[in-house]
Amino acid sequence: MKYLDEFSDPVLARRLLDQIHAVTTRPWAMMEVCGGQTHSIIRHGIDQLLPPGIEMIHGPGCPVCVTPLEMIDRALAIASQPGVIFCSFGDMLRVPGSGRDLFTVKSAGADVRVVYSPLDALNIARDNPDREVVFFGIGFETTAPANAMTVYQARRLGVRNFSLLVSHVLVPPAIAAIMEAPNCRVQAFLAAGHVCSVMGTSLYPALAARYRVPIVVTGFEPLDILEGIRQTVVQLESGSFAVTNAYPRVVPPEGNVPARQMLEDVFEVTDRTWRGIGMIPASGWRLSSRYREFDAEERFAVGEIHTDESPLCRAGEVLQGHIKPHECSAFGKECTPRNPLGATMVSSEGACAAYYAYRRLDLVEVGA
């Protein structure tokens, strides 16, 4: 794929790694915010190739991991209602709620469908006028425009049997919350490149200044990640804490203006509970009052939701970078990708699953 494959070139990767090694004189800990970046780092073995002192702390940038337990349970309750067609991105199907997930609900007879795009769910609604179609609108700022456009179209075209279950989360408040947490070891951030494609970079200088951390807008392919790390180390070594853009080919400073306008219209800021972390004020989006009639939370009375999470699950500490997955007593025992206790083990780039899949090898050798 053009403009993708070139950014995996092993020769250029080696050059970037050599540069990183050359400029690193002491240990640094940085956080990549985005789960897709975690996935890429571990899938290519990048963290094994960095200088030993550079630690990548995996951040809570996986909307699958951080979707609140209560929201998952609400989704399960709605999906279980007769006549409902519940549509979702594939990522969410195995995320455990209080004891069940969308797969188990499907096996009990619910109509749960995986779609690639929220527009597919809208089409399903148009094709099935006698059924209620609900789309599970999770994601960061990158995915919100797609969900916004879908509900905008639903209203414009008068598709009454469609609704959105919204659980969007925002990156800048998460960065602030991480820096405010006691025992925070993060000294710099690789900002999420595709979030910035949409939102631009205007919110980051204030964070960089307040917490005195370099913030480097970073992409997802190996060369992009390495360049993001390189720019970060250069800043750390020189004591600077600026915002720089290592992904300029798709991140203009203003982001995507039509998308941001749509987001202003369709969503409003709300407090959001991040699974495993807790409530972060003003860190989420919900549908604005203009679109409330399409809000699945309003449309479906599913009663009180009582959540029930395994006491063993320490996903929250992993998400904040306080512990590594293998430091959790349940890791690989009660909690595995096959039987996940928490969302970090489910998501393909949740830190625990990534560790389980890719890092097992080193851990086995260490333990042997």
């Binding site: 571990i42 499907k106 009990a108 190996p222 096959r338 780039e349 260490v366």
Partner: protein
């Protein structure tokens, strides 16, 4: 220092954290394996170590390979083939993976009431043509009809028998450290062809299913090097990742792959990038994995490449004594990643 021992891990949670069958149980990965190991094997007797694509049994002095498979693919017709092609080639290939010459197949149909008879006819035609191409005969069968509430279309189950030549002992337990791992051609093709026309995911692609009968390819390999072929496996559901994990576990060896050497066609790679899939987990229906003694590897590669179905054959890795039961790939950048047994169905992701 934190130590985590995976080799002795047993999950303390009982198999069914749900009491019901889930879609993932049909995915060919860890969930399917659990179903077999914890429900079927205890009931039927036998051990997990014996499980291979086909069973080799002795009857009346003849060594027979015996295999069965069910076909439930949706959509039933996809670029490059149909459920009919899969039903014949799939069982033919399972027999061939024991080194057998496939001979006779049965076919049992479960038809949904209301299915267009022309559709049934097309599937039957495809099966007849596939059988002729594979030099096997469909000699017995059955038909049942279920009411239209129970799923849609046509489900086919085929079973087959073949003769295993004397002296041929091919099975998942025979891999040894030092053995060379080869694949007969491009991987990920069938799964992408089917996904491309699945509702909610459809995308345009030139990828056609690779469904094909492999008995001739296997015969060519055995003629070239005989007993040096240790393991054969056709990587269907769960892809190359599932097959290599199963073999690594059965043989007690580690498998070390070189990612750069995996033959992934650009169209498959791009479709996987778009949907967030790993080509190693995508199904193949006309490819085989061969694990052979190192001295025989060049001759096996030549034998594969000499056959039209093996023109794209590549060496992709080796078996090692380290990390037994685990498959590890060296990435293009020079790092390592563990290739896990897929869990259930592979789903597209946004993250």
């Amino acid at each position: 220092m934190t130590t985590v021992d995976f080799s002795s891990w047993t999950c303390p949670v009982p198999l069914r954290d749900t009491p019901n069958v889930l879609m993932g149980h049909g995915g060919g990965g860890a969930m399917s394996a659990e179903l077999v190991e914890q429900i079927f094997l205890p009931a039927f007797g036998g051990s997990a170590a014996d499980l291979a694509d086909s069973a080799v049994v002795t009857a009346g002095g003849a060594r027979l390979a015996f295999s069965t498979d069910s076909y439930v693919v949706k959509p039933m017709f996809f670029p490059g083939g149909s459920i009919g092609d899969l039903a014949v080639n799939g069982t033919v290939n399972d027999l061939a993976m024991s080194g057998a010459t496939p001979l006779y197949l049965s076919s049992a149909f479960i038809l949904q009431e209301g299915t267009d008879l022309a559709v049934v006819g097309r599937i039957a035609q495809a099966m007849g043509l596939a059988a002729a191409a594979a030099s096997v005969r469909l000699v017995t069968g059955d038909t049942k009809v279920v009411d239209s509430a129970s799923g849609d279309g046509v489900f086919v189950t085929t079973a087959g028998i073949g003769l295993v030549p004397p002296g041929v002992e091919i099975g998942p337990r025979r891999a040894r450290p030092g053995d060379v791992v080869l694949v007969s051609g491009d991987i990920g093709v069938h799964g992408i062809a089917v996904l491309s026309c699945r509702e909610g995911l459809s995308f345009g692609t030139s990828v056609l299913s690779d469904t094909a009968p492999l008995a001739g390819l296997v015969a060519g390999m055995l003629a070239a090097v005989g007993d040096s072929v240790h393991v054969l496996r056709d990587p269907t559901r769960g892809g190359v990742a599932a097959s290599l994990n199963e073999i690594a576990r059965a043989s007690g060896v580690g498998v070390s792959l070189v990612e750069r050497d995996l033959p992934v066609p650009a169209a498959v790679r791009d479709a996987c990038s778009l949907l967030g899939l790993d080509p190693l987990q995508v199904a193949n229906e006309g490819k085989l994995i061969a694990i052979v003694a190192p001295s025989a590897a060049p001759a096996v590669l030549d034998a594969l490449r000499a056959h039209p179905l093996g023109a794209g054959a590549q060496v992709i890795g080796t078996c090692v004594a380290e990390h037994p039961g685990t498959v590890v790939a060296q990435t293009a950048l020079g790092g390592n990643r563990v290739i896990s047994l897929p869990i259930g169905e592979q789903l597209p992701r946004i993250c």
